[in-house]
């Protein structure tokens, strides 16, 4: 239910974006309004996983692990959006699909870490061990990402890329800022909605697994 509502709002907002705004970068700039919020959602999901992992190791409440797991999957979906829309935006603006700059590289590794997290979970059968190990990876991953960002940033400042023309964050005129903010809000709602649904799924699945486990004679 939450999702349906939220999804609708999201699409509606996008329609809003289409109308009032156009730019010197051309219409492709509008990709920003879905790319940046998607990145924000992915990053949020990632942080949630990391923080919940830390709290889990402290409190050992299995619910935390279930939420973390859900957040990881939702985050993975948003990362996919982020990693596809990024290059699509980059190609017309930068002239290249990919550039190993700090932000892009960090987002790539966030994606890879999400994948690694899922793979790890897939390889462990015992729920308690799975929760523990996922928490370890979650924490390590969260601490790692700033380092990856710093690494690439340091690399770039010393090896300036001649082709780069950053569509960074120029001072946004009011109208666009509003659109962006609305979009961020919508994506956040989308994240929460997905998270709730995914959590519901996880709870159902856990119940089934427990029943199966206790049914074995």
């Amino acid at each position: 239910m939450a999702i349906a509502l939220v999804g609708l709002v999201g699409v509606y907002v996008r329609a809003l974006v289409f109308t009032p705004i156009e730019r010197t970068q051309g219409p492709a700039q509008k990709i920003f309004y879905v790319h940046a919020p998607a990145a924000w959602a992915a990053l949020l999901a990632f942080a949630v996983v990391g923080i919940l992992s830390l709290v889990y190791l402290w409190l050992r409440d299995r619910k935390l692990d279930t939420i973390a797991e859900s957040s990881a999957e939702v985050g993975l979906a948003f990362s996919v959006v982020m990693l596809t829309t990024g290059p699509i935006w980059g190609k017309p603006i930068w002239g290249t699909w990919w550039s190993w700059d700090a932000r892009l590289t960090s987002t790539l590794f966030i994606f890879l870490l999400f994948v690694g997290y899922k793979v790890l979970r897939g390889a462990i059968v015992d729920p308690e061990m799975r929760a523990r190990y996922s928490a370890v990876i979650g924490i390590m991953a969260l601490v790692l990402v700033p380092f990856i960002h710093m690494t690439v940033y340091l690399f770039r400042t010393l090896h300036p890329d001649p082709v780069l023309m950053k569509p960074g964050r120029p001072a946004l005129p009011g109208v666009m800022l509003i659109t962006l903010l609305i979009s961020i809000g919508v994506f956040t709602l989308l994240y929460v909605g997905f998270l709730m649904q995914r959590y519901a799924l996880a709870v159902l699945r856990d119940v089934r697994e427990e029943e199966a486990a206790s049914a074995i004679p």
């Binding site: 156009e22 492709a28 879905v34 829309t85 989308l190 519901a200």
Partner: protein, 44 residues
């Protein structure tokens, strides 16, 4: 709008990218939402 002359502003012609991106976002979001709904249905 097509009949009017706009002497100064010349937009780069990259609308296709925008459309592609927006389509992808919609597709991914919808697919994921559907996958969740389907998986929940299976569990119930």
């Amino acid at each position: 709008m097509s009949g009017r002359r706009r002497p100064q502003v010349q937009y780069p012609d990259n609308g296709a990218y925008m459309v592609a991106a927006y389509i992808i976002v919609a597709v991914v979001v919808l697919l994921y939402g559907i996958s969740l709904a389907v998986r929940i249905k299976k569990e119930r």
